[in-house]
Amino acid sequence: MRYLPLTEADRRAMLAAIGVPSVDSLFRDVPESAWLKKPVEGLPDHMGELAVDRALSAMAARSVPAGSVPFFIGGGAYKHHVPASVDHLIQRGEFMTSYTPYQPEVTQGTLQYLFEFQTQVALITGMDVANASMYDGSTAVAEAVVMANRVTRREKAVVSGGLHPMYREVIDTHARFLGFEVVAGRIDPASADDLIDRIDDKTSCVVVQNPDFFGNLRDFSKLAEACQAQGALLIVAVTEIVSLGAVKSPGEMGADIVVAEGQSIGNALNFGGPYVGLFATKDKYVRQMPGRLAGQTVDADGRRGWVLTLSTREQHIRREKATSNICTNSGLCALAFTIHMSLLGEAGFARLADLNHAAAVTLAGRLAGVKGVAVLTDSFFNEFTVKLPKPAAEVVEALAKKNILAGIPVSRLIPGRDDLANLLVIAATEVNTEADMDALAKGLAEVLS
């Protein structure tokens, strides 16, 4: 039992000090009917490192890693190169095995990086303030809607058809249990749903995504004005945060709340999690914001330092009246984000975005030349939608057999819509080589011929 330091002699001595004959007697409050007399059945006994390593490595080998094939899947999670120093630093025991910084005197490290993270997120999104992170982008968007309801004291959210379908489902779940209304926009890969007409004086918020699920880039400045006119908040979701290195920020467009998935910076694909949700808003809404916040203050000697602050919003103080039930942030993922972003800096972040855009433009051009493929997206960052002459799900499976991971069939996320069945959403990032693109174009031509 390599993780258990007590020896049998220790246990005997400790029981004697407590004054009980056995550990069983410490469990005396457990109804005896519920006592397990021996280890749980149906599970193996302990294993050494080598045995665990072998078993799990064998299991891992039964998946195809993104890095081992030409890879073009996005849809809210993107394959980017993360510098080696990021993973090294987040594994330092002082970060990894520390708790929530409730005792600021011995957790200034965590608090300072959270303050830096908050500043980076605010700058990138073009907003006043940001919190110390949420679980991920999808839960952040739902929290944003709930916050907008609270700010506006209204209960109707207008949600764009361009929002990631899973994000919309998360909003729907919260709407069901909290009893607010969701007005869903039209789902159409090529044209914006006209949301402005749907805003009224009962609307708490309008939720849009940029670039949207199909890859379209839009300017929401007019929509922001329309929201403001009706007293609704504009919530802008960003699933590919790298886009903000090249694209006008939601803040510049007039967003009231910006939520984003931060995975692209610093974090691996991880089959869906853990990721890091970004959440930024205007100063005036900060006390209605969910999630943890690090704030600057001074210590007893007058030196600058950091603490968790505005915790009266939070569940551990406010209980059922809290702004959210959230009690963690996405600490290590936020740290990875902030380290990677620090490495990039202004120049690196912009160049990374340029590389992504150039890769996608190049790929779109290449695919447009494949017979039967129509590129539907005019303005995009690193992801776009194509229409194929047959169901995209079949094409993707056929390409997977050729060891090419080609993109996301829209039907996987939005089943049952014939008009969407042949659509494929394709992403390209800085990791895609010319050879990858050639492989996709060639594979696609073969599968479609």
Binding site: A77, L89, W306
Partner: protein
């Protein structure tokens, strides 16, 4: 040396990455190209590595010492977990890859689900919740979905006063009214008060077991029967599962839903506050209400159900994608390392360590309740009475002795609570040293004239006590160039 913010170190034109120039292409940004600077600082890699290394050195951590935060289960985080979580077949797979290309990843989720169900004696588990509080939300949504499926509407959820704040917050986030139940003098749910609150508008009771006083709810089976008798459900907060894993199966106690904090019982790292992972085990009555997606194993291959067909009763989706895969790998690595035999020993040693602390400090400090505890030892502040030293002062003094303080002022049902959880991964030597320090501080406090000494603590930390009041009154939540220049002017 003081460590400035990155914004105070960076300079334009510097970067810590070497990206090739982007090939020239026709822009497709549709006129939305960013104009102007973002304002991010530029640092080289050596500067970044040093900056975050230095920041880390300002943190306390389990790797460096005993971290006795009650209710948080700060146990050893094995490095094998980290190594396994980084296997490309787990870490470098996309959640939307074709299912045929992620069989190993789905197998891992299914295997972890099997362990969780077996250890809790429950038939189903929802894997997607991102953290404990998210798991609570999932469990309460499943309960509400089940109630609604029966065509009922219920409004109240009973929550003990000693509960974690997440419990009432979750009930509220699920649209319920929270109705508190008081604790009795033994630190457990007051069963008479509980009975008095029961009725057919009660959707559920949320009980932490072992509870936040570190005690096993001895009338748990009766409570389960009572809530079921009025048609309500029993939500169990599983934060303290570490105390009973391998020795008691919550399914045998009548629990309908319980989240499991993988970062507590199953050693995934706390990471300064996250990420967590909070799978929820569910009883037969709730099983069909699990949220999307879930993994099924059929004919030798794994499938991921992302949409239910006609007649599906799932309550929807809680989160994009499949859950906290990275945490799943770590938790399963830990479970397999311990095995059924080792996990039972975990609970035994965790409880033994806590009781040893309770016994050894019962004369110096003041236990909140009589009798043995489970995995954490709860003291109140009566031993500090008349000394001028508060629980907070006592905790801060511990810092100067090389320890992170215990949980303070929680649970709320005890005055000036000090909640100590050593976990099973502390050695007797380490605990003896800790006991000696706490005993010494208690004696010092009791001298009666030491309040100033305590109030001046901590002295040897990167910062001394921080002004939390002014931080909240006029919040500074980000760096701005103005802040910097203003400071320079001061």
């Amino acid at each position: 040396l003081e460590e400035p913010l990155i914004f105070e170190q960076g300079e334009a034109g510097r970067t810590g990455v070497d990206l090739p120039p982007a090939p020239k292409v026709e822009s497709k940004l549709g006129g939305l190209a960013r104009k102007g600077k973002i304002g991010l600082p530029g640092l080289s890699e050596p500067q970044v590595v040093r900056h975050y290394t230095r920041l880390s050195q300002k943190n306390y951590a389990i790797d460096a010492g005993l971290y006795p935060l009650g209710s948080c289960t700060m146990k050893h985080n094995p490095r094998l977990n980290e190594k396994m979580a980084r296997l490309p077949g787990f870490s470098d797979v996309h959640p939307l890859q074709p299912v045929s290309t992620v069989q190993g990843a789905l197998e891992l989720i299914d295997t972890l689900a099997h362990w969780l169900k077996t250890l809790t004696g429950m038939p189903a588990v929802a894997m997607s919740p991102a953290a404990g509080a998210h798991g609570e939300l999932c469990g309460m949504m499943a309960i509400r979905a089940a109630i609604e499926a029966k065509g009922e509407r219920r409004q109240r959820v009973l929550v003990p006063e000693s509960a974690h704040g997440t419990n009432p917050a979750t009930a509220a986030a699920c649209g319920y009214i929270v109705d508190p139940i008081p604790a009795n003098a033994r630190g457990r749910v007051d069963i008479e008060a509980f009975k008095a609150k029961l009725g057919d508008d009660v959707a559920a009771v949320m009980i932490t077991n072992p509870n936040t006083c570190g005690l096993f709810e001895s009338e748990i089976v009766e409570i389960a029967e009572l809530i079921h008798s009025v048609g309500g459900y029993f939500y169990c907060d599983g934060a303290n599962f570490n105390a009973i894993v391998g020795r008691v199966r919550p399914g045998d106690l009548g629990v309908d839903a319980m989240h499991i904090n993988l970062h507590k019982t199953f050693s995934t790292p706390h990471g300064g506050g996250g990420p967590g992972a909070g799978p929820v085990v569910l009883s037969e009555a709730l099983a069909k209400f699990v949220p999307m997606p879930y993994v099924v194993h059929e004919k030798g291959s794994y499938k991921l159900v992302e949409h239910e067909g006609v007649g599906g009763q799932n309550f929807g989706r809680l989160k994009a994608f499949q859950g906290q895969m990275g945490m799943f790998v770590r938790a399963l690595t830990y479970m397999m390392s311990h095995g059924a035999d080792g996990l039972r020993q975990v609970a035994s040693d965790a409880v033994l360590n806590a009781n040893y602390i309770l016994a050894r400090l019962k004369d110096e400090m003041s236990p909140a309740f009589d009798g043995p505890c489970m995995h954490e030892a709860l003291f109140d502040d009566s031993f500090l009475k008349g000394t001028g030293v508060t629980t907070l002062d006592f905790a801060k003094a511990m810092i100067d002795e090389g320890y992170h303080p215990m949980t303070m002022y929680f649970p709320l049902v005890v005055h000036g609570a000090l909640l100590i959880e050593p976990t099973e991964t502390e050695s007797k030597d380490a605990i003896d040293q800790f006991i000696a320090v706490l005993g010494g501080l208690a004696q010092r406090a009791k001298q009666g004239d030491q309040a100033d000494w305590f109030k001046a603590a901590p002295r040897y930390t990167p910062r001394r006590r921080l002004d939390e009041t002014s931080a909240a009154r006029k919040p500074i939540l980000r760096w701005t160039p103005e802040t910097e220049s203003q400071e320079a002017a001061d």
